[in-house]
Symmetry: D2
Subunit: 296 residues, 4 copies
């Protein structure tokens, strides 16, 4: 295997958008026309205590910072208001890769190379990176398709998903994958979210090198899944780790959406829909927690 340490973009040497370039304005308008009855599916897991995390990113930690009963007393004593308003808020401390989240084009490297040949040593700061940060990512509004792999398999371990299986599923579902799509792959691994966190994070089914390359060749805009990594872990080849992240993010500029909640969409047999995902614009960040939705 030969890995190139430079990943030129087909969209030009200054490009920071990657595969989101495929979502042209016309196709947004077309995607919107997929909406029939306006049913909205939430594709986000709850952010709360005891959600699965991996060691690299660490825990989601949050807590009440101001409580309305306390603050009411404080306001009464310090600057009383006649209408007796008070407020509660929380503060939270978390990775940009917490819970349901999107991976930016600055998240994964091949050696020192990020997407489009950016040398990560040149752009790393104390506030993420000075190029390719998530703040450059546009809101994603495009056609979404659900690839429900559970129509073929009940995965109980880190099986790789071959292209042939994807093709069988989209044939069963009677849909096609198109340029600019958000492709969501449902593996059923979601069932271990919070029921068996250790199992959820330690290995998982997903696409391998073959399917990743094929999806890139389809010029999809983004790939999501109901697992922590989208890709099969461990990789099919010993000694290889995160190769699908490199193929999709680093070589092809395709952001990944991880830890999605897709079971409801699968149960409803909704395979084609308007997909909306709006990452928070955090300067320099390498990802963002998101609340993606499907509208059918």
């Amino acid at each position: 295997m030969k890995f190139f340490e430079l990943c030129p973009s087909k969209f030009g040497k200054d490009d920071q958008l990657g595969a989101l370039n495929y979502i042209a304005r016309e196709s947004t308008a077309a995607a919107v026309r997929l909406v029939r009855n306006g049913r909205i599916f939430s594709l986000m897991h709850m952010l709360e205590d005891e959600i699965p995390v991996n060691w690299f990113h660490k825990d989601f930690i949050y807590h009440t910072y101001r409580s309305a009963p306390e603050m009411l007393k404080y306001f009464d004593s310090v600057f009383p208001n006649k209408n007796r308003i008070s407020f509660t808020n929380i503060r939270m401390e978390m990775s940009d890769h917490t819970g349901t989240h999107i991976d930016g084009l600055n998240h994964a490297t091949i050696g020192y190379s990020l997407y489009n040949g950016v040398d990560v040593r040149d752009v790393t700061t104390t506030r993420g990176t000075s190029r390719l940060g998530i703040e450059n990512m546009l809101p994603i509004v495009t056609r979404g398709v659900l690839i429900d792999m559970t129509l073929l398999h009940v995965y109980d371990g880190p099986q790789a998903i071959p292209v042939s299986d994807i093709e069988r599923v989209i044939s069963i579902e009677n849909i096609q994958i198109r340029r600019g799509d958000a492709v969501l792959i449902y593996t059923g691994w979601e069932r271990f979210w919070k029921t068996d966190n250790q199992r959820y994070v330690s290995s998982m089914p997903g696409i391998g090198v073959e399917a990743a390359s094929w999806l890139a060749s389809q010029e999809v805009a983004t790939v999501g899944s109901d697992t922590q990594s989208v890709e099969v872990e461990p990789n099919e080849e010993p000694g290889v780790d995160g190769r699908v992240h490199q193929i999709l993010i680093t070589e092809n500029g395709i952001p990944l959406i991880e830890n999605m909640k897709l079971s409801e969409l699968a149960s409803a047999k909704v395979y084609e829909f308007l997909f909306v995902c709006t990452p928070l614009k955090i300067r320099g960040a390498t990802g963002s927690p998101v609340h993606p939705i499907a509208i059918s």
Copy 2:
């Protein structure tokens, strides 16, 4: 002035949705049909250092937690991978009311009462509140309207916006406010975001009691603005503080979207659009940073 400390909901005693009940499925589908050319407007300010915050919520603090160059060396020494992947991430520490954000129905009280008569003392925990948390808020997909007050005024202080001015503006814009709408009020105060933070947060133009009551009577789903509080601050009546929050959130279950970036929409003279805003589902939280969008 008499303030009731119980705020019964017209949607039933168990309701946690508030005015989002107005967005029926048909009107979502209808709102989607407003999309013409698929142009997307981002209505979110960048999250970064030195954004305006107020003392109650405190700063947005973030930083690189893992850097790819460091982690590459770590991986090489501890568990080398043939494909030489590495990763960067950040961690962030912030209030749920940071930057462009939505206020949940558990944020503001009248005395000890939250929306729908919930006593805040009964539901406050170390993880926000056990009822009315932001995790109950549905993704908002509805018709949006922009009320561009700068068509009438250049505000240079805390002017209250009367209903008559709103009516003049929607007449100029040739639109109407309808049940279930996301009403976005552009004051131009956005110009002080990061250019004069002290001015941005210390006082601001916005709707007062009259306009808030009128908007509630229109049965709008949510109200947003390009200011920190949506409402005029200080209040028109001395000794009153946050009264509009109480009228909209606590009494009528209408969430507010604050610190929006609306100037681009105003410049483009886009007054009616598909509006999408998907709060993060944080259990118990009283708000969420959001990246709302308008699609025209």
Copy 3:
């Protein structure tokens, strides 16, 4: 077993000091006279990545917040100084029970009772507790003694330390335990710190109910150990958890110092010394990271 839910203090109903009352001013002066050659032993583990923590307290998370190279450029551009100074700092996010730390008298309850009959429901706020907070704890300067249990045993599991063994050790060491002492119990469990974190935290040798009661009867000021809990875990009696914390902290007002690094002191056979431990005065906190020292 009968547990009382009220824990009156022998030091009076308003007491917040607990066993630190035993350290009278004369005995501080006497302790100081124990110093012979001025050798200082650091009894604190390094705070760094991948230290053992338990689920209750969560991780120690820290990171560079400002880097001098970045800030030098910032200063040059925004407010240049002729002497070209720049600075680095870090921020850290952690529990008050991180690493080597002391447990305050408000940390552990029997039902709803804290030390001295304080009902924890009455004093809990969003900033710890309004009584018995660590800010009330005095700097500890007293005679310290090391009880080196490894003179008798190499513990490889959660053995309880009986009083008879403590008595044998102090006989071997030729010391006595006195009123007002800081009693440090070295078990050797420290060898798993960062070498086997899972083993370090999941069970441990330590004092049980008998030895805790005996130490309380000796009127010692504080008890420390080279384990996470000072006490044997799991408890000798099935279904009982943290009983030693209750006996020492809640019933007798004796703070515990946990995760100490005691091996160097044991190697040097220093069994009697001046002990200094100065908890950070954090209003309402239930503990504090500390850097205790022994001076021989």
Copy 4:
């Protein structure tokens, strides 16, 4: 003015201890003999809400993370214990330069140079710096002297303290400054701590270049004060900033202790004492909150 960008240490090219080298073991033992009656003075301000901070370091943020009443219910339902123990803890998020704190030798630069010629670009990581981190600093146990400048002046602005005034004060106090001392300079500025935070941080009296150079020539171990910066701010020379930090920390390896609470010591007229300050050993950190004490 000529600033050298390399600051060789007189203690050898590998030295990371700086002026703490002056505290030889004998002088620790001698310092201990200064203790007469064992009275302990706490020289730390409370860590709490609304303490003064500067923009560089940002706020001290803390909050209850687990409350005993909540956790008691949780334990009862998930793993009940017969003795009904429960716990409260807090988490805190802060700079290593929060409140009363010590500045490490890696905190301040001259250009890119740290103490002892270390190039800050070579040692900066995401966890502070890989050399000169605060974990290398020894516990400080030495003779302390209080220079009570209020015996001469009531400072109401950023007056620089000349050497001649220091000499007058130590003459009045009938003490001498010796090699290895902790020199604590009381200005009275402490009176603005929490009473006028803006005033406390925006300018302050303190030593200037002359007195800093003189103190360095006295070979003192550390210099503390009851101000944010120890040094006069703004500097006496326009366009110069933090020059005293450079002289003491960067050129001479003398750590500074800032935001000390010294009024009680001054009131008691205790000018010579045993001084103990034990920075937390945080790997790579550039400082540490501390609770220094004086024992007379």
